[in-house]
């Protein structure tokens, strides 16, 4: 009898559905979510994707600070997603992203959104559908304003997202139903100050065709800020049309290419000043399972042809230094994956160390770490 002995040195083919972190998306030049690369972060663009990405727990390392989430100061967040028959559900904590201002003026600050909760529910009945409900609220009665007078600061936010995937077509609507901050603290703080997002939305659709993904997205929001007796209205919009392609070189390696054209405006309606911008970034990325326990990835991205901003005075300026290279790694331990961005630490350890200077460091091995456990 022939005996075929297959010796496998621990190779484990990972499907892309096992990847689920901001670090992976950033390393592939996609921001924190992608419209063209399959990743569980897509649930934040289209909740119907929960049907495709489920049965895992994810944590994103960072601080509990509630302001912007950056590579050097990431926000702590995480959650889990689980299937239940033909349905799936999920709970995500800490997604405190907000378009409401936190700084009203000098010495006059709003509280930032905090302790956000996202509830997901999705189903697959031939047509995959999904919904996400977003909620956050806080109150601080110990704040002080002008003259150290006690005042109450509040924040509240509510959002609803709906999505569907049918065959090669997908569509999603993300709505901010309410996002408000009341009362500013600081030596110039005022209880009546308010920063409020009017109902805002992002509507998008995508189509898969012969291995290519085409998509279009339209985002519009309006914000009102009241400081004392002065009210200012801001309006922001963005249209994006894009394409992406994933070339599966083999089951363990892939090359990504994508490009999109984006044109947007940011307008202060009250003072009548509009900033317009456009860009067309081309991104080339790679991802490969270097060993059974290590996946490496990287990307280069740069504006081509379009990439400029026009200020309210009508003056145009090209976007400087748009070339960006990112790299990342995943350490795999069976069903547990530790993702991170690499190459983000400078050569010196004195002063600003969080710089990309082409250095592979082994003390700050990875930044923006995310840990995912698939069950």
């Amino acid at each position: 009898m022939r005996k075929n002995v297959l010796l496998v040195a621990g190779l484990c083919v990972l499907s892309t559905s096992a990847f689920a972190s901001k670090a992976r998306m950033i390393a592939l030049g996609q921001g924190t979510e992608s419209r063209v690369i399959s990743d569980s972060r897509s649930v934040f663009i289209n909740p119907a994707e929960v049907n495709n990405f489920k049965n895992y727990v994810v944590t994103e390392w960072g601080t509990a600070a509630n302001t912007t989430d950056t590579d050097t100061n990431p926000r702590a967040e995480g959650g889990f997603f689980r299937e239940m028959g033909t349905f799936s559900y999920g709970l995500y904590l800490g997604n405190n992203e907000s378009r409401v201002a936190t700084v009203g003026a000098t010495n006059r600050s709003f509280d930032a959104k905090t302790n956000a909760l996202d509830l997901f529910f999705a189903g697959d009945m031939g047509l995959k559908w999904g919904a996400k409900f977003h909620y956050a609220t806080s109150k601080d009665e110990t704040a002080t304003g002008t003259g150290s007078v006690a005042l109450t600061q509040k924040t509240s936010a509510m959002g609803l997202s709906l999505g569907a995937i049918h065959g090669d077509i997908d569509v999603a609507l993300n709505m901010d139903l309410a996002d408000k901050a009341e009362g500013t603290s600081g030596i110039a703080g005022v209880a009546a100050d308010q920063s409020k997002l009017k109902p805002s939305f992002t509507l998008e659709t995508g189509y898969n065709w012969m291995g290519n993904k085409f998509y279009a997205a339209y985002q519009a929001d309006k914000r009102e800020e009241t400081l004392g007796t002065t009210s200012t209205t801001y309006k922001q919009s963005d249209i994006r049309v894009g394409w992406g392609r994933t070339h599966e070189v083999n089951p363990t390696s892939r090359v990504f290419t994508d490009a999109y054209f984006s044109t947007g405006s940011d307008e202060n309606i009250t003072v009548a000043g509009k900033t317009k911008s456009n860009r067309l970034p081309l991104t080339i990325g790679l991802e490969t399972e270097a060993t059974s326990w290590l996946t490496l990835r990287g990307s280069v991205s740069q504006n081509v042809i379009f990439g400029s901003t026009k200020n309210p005075a009508g003056q145009t300026a090209s976007t400087r230094n748009s070339t960006g290279v990112n790299a990342g790694a995943t350490l795999g331990f069976g069903k547990l994956k530790v993702d991170g961005v690499i190459g983000n630490t400078a050569g010196q350890r004195n002063g600003a160390v969080n710089n990309k200077e082409g250095v592979l460091t082994t003390d700050n091995l990875m930044t923006r770490v995310g840990v995912t456990y698939n069950f």
Partner: protein, 419 residues
């Protein structure tokens, strides 16, 4: 019969033809923008027909915006510029390529030289795009188009810059030849002190090589670039950059896993800046050198390749004049420091002729190989001291002091995936 299938952990020996990065070339004592005798993807910038040599690949050079010099920036070993691209095979034995962000130092230095204002410098080439096309035939050919353009109309920050260039190359059997035409370059910064302007004239680089035998290759190159610059308070000036070199490169495969390299060449660089009405205030640098470089590359394990080089001038002189007279206290020190670092000219005094000192350079590097993915970098480029902070002109932690650091494991990291 027993059949034993062994599936390894995807590590395998890879031929040197897949190596591709600035760090590799530097470790072997070559210019990071290409070698005239060692095969590397960077050579497409010398001869685009070399694209036919390489298979499909995606390559990245880690970094950010480089070392800032006013609005200008340079790609330095300790502050690298980000760039990357892809080569892809097309039907009919053709290849295409795109590289984003490759901003050469020679172009940057000429614009810095033109910015003789109040310690600020014009915008260097930014958001550069290189497109490549190559094909095989009786004669293998290749072409590359370079394009960069950016501007700002914002009050107090106005500038404009653009540049276009065309490279073409061919190779057949033992010979190869290449041509570069710098078709036009312009830059201005009306809001900088002395409102500097820079206008490049037609520039050219021609060169070629010939395989003398399977181990030895002869090569030669000549390039000339001219430009006009105007700094507002001085008469319009004509700048010129001339360089030629000729030499021989030797490649010897010692074993299946080790290769020895050596290069001997003679080179002359002549940089001149003169007024359009006469040369009473001429500034110039003339540099002649005969560098000898010896290098090796060794596949230490199936996942690790180590390499290193030592180089030194057998003969080297540099003569400069008029640097102090032409570059004053404002921008002068920075320009003279940059020129001294690159060409060995003087940083103070009235100039003259001298030997190029401290020309002995040792470089080292390594590659981690993970199947079709390679991670290259320089090693030994981190000082023992981590506490010294950056200055305007140096990054003190990132210097060669004979240290093999394990925290800053590699610098100038390049990542290449072959598919």
């Amino acid at each position: 019969m027993k059949k034993i299938f062994i599936v390894g952990s995807a590590l395998m020996l890879v031929s040197t033809a897949t190596f591709a990065s600035k760090a590799r070339l530097q470790s072997l004592g070559e210019d990071k923008d290409g070698s005239y005798y060692i095969s590397d993807y960077r050579n497409v910038y010398i001869n685009p027909s070399e694209l036919n040599t390489f298979g499909n690949k995606v390559f990245l050079e880690w970094g950010n915006t480089g070392k800032a010099v006013g609005n200008a920036s340079l790609d330095t070993d300790s502050k690298t510029k980000a760039q990357g691209g892809m080569f892809y095979a097309l039907p009919n034995d053709m290849k295409a390529g795109v590289i984003l962000g490759d901003e050469t130092d020679v172009a940057a230095l000429t614009r810095i030289l033109s910015s003789n204002g109040s310690n600020s410098f014009m915008q260097t080439a930014d958001n550069v795009i290189d497109l490549f096309l190559a094909g095989k035939g009786d004669v293998n050919w290749g072409a590359n188009l370079l394009y960069t353009q950016s501007e700002s109309e914002v009050t107090n920050s106005r500038y404009k810059q653009h540049a276009y260039a065309l490279r073409a190359g061919a190779n057949k059997d033992a010979w190869n030849a290449h041509l570069l035409l710098a078709l036009g370059a312009k830059a201005d910064a009306p809001d900088l002190a002395n409102t500097p302007t820079y206008k490049g004239k037609l520039g050219v680089r021609v060169g070629g090589g010939y395989d003398l035998d399977e181990s030895n290759k002869a090569f030669a190159m000549y390039e000339r670039y001219e430009w006009k610059q105007d700094n507002g308070t001085t008469a319009e000036r004509i700048g010129s950059f001339n360089k030629w070199f000729t030499g021989v490169g030797h490649t010897k495969k010692i074993t299946d896993s080790s290769t020895f390299f050596a290069r001997l060449q003679a080179e002359m660089t002549n940089i001149k800046l003169e007024t359009s009405t006469g040369n009473n205030t001429e500034a110039k640098i003339t540099r002649f050198a005969v560098p000898l470089t010896v290098a090796f590359e060794h596949t230490a394990t199936e996942w690790l390749v180590l390499r290193g080089s030592v180089g030194q001038n057998i003969h080297g002189t540099v003569e400069d004049q008029g640097l102090t007279a032409n570059f004053g206290a404002a921008n002068g020190p920075t320009i003279r420091t940059l020129a001294a670092a690159r060409y060995g000219s003087s940083t103070a005094g009235n100039g003259g002729k001298k030997s190029i000192v401290n020309s002995t350079v040792v470089n080292a590097g390594m590659t981690f190989k993970f199947g079709n993915l390679e991670l290259d970098g320089n090693i030994g480029t981190t000082d023992g001291n981590r506490a010294i902070a950056d200055t305007a002109t140096t990054e003190a932690a990132d210097t060669k002091h004979g240290v093999l650091a394990f925290d800053n494991l590699m610098t100038r990291v390049g990542m290449t995936y072959n598919f």
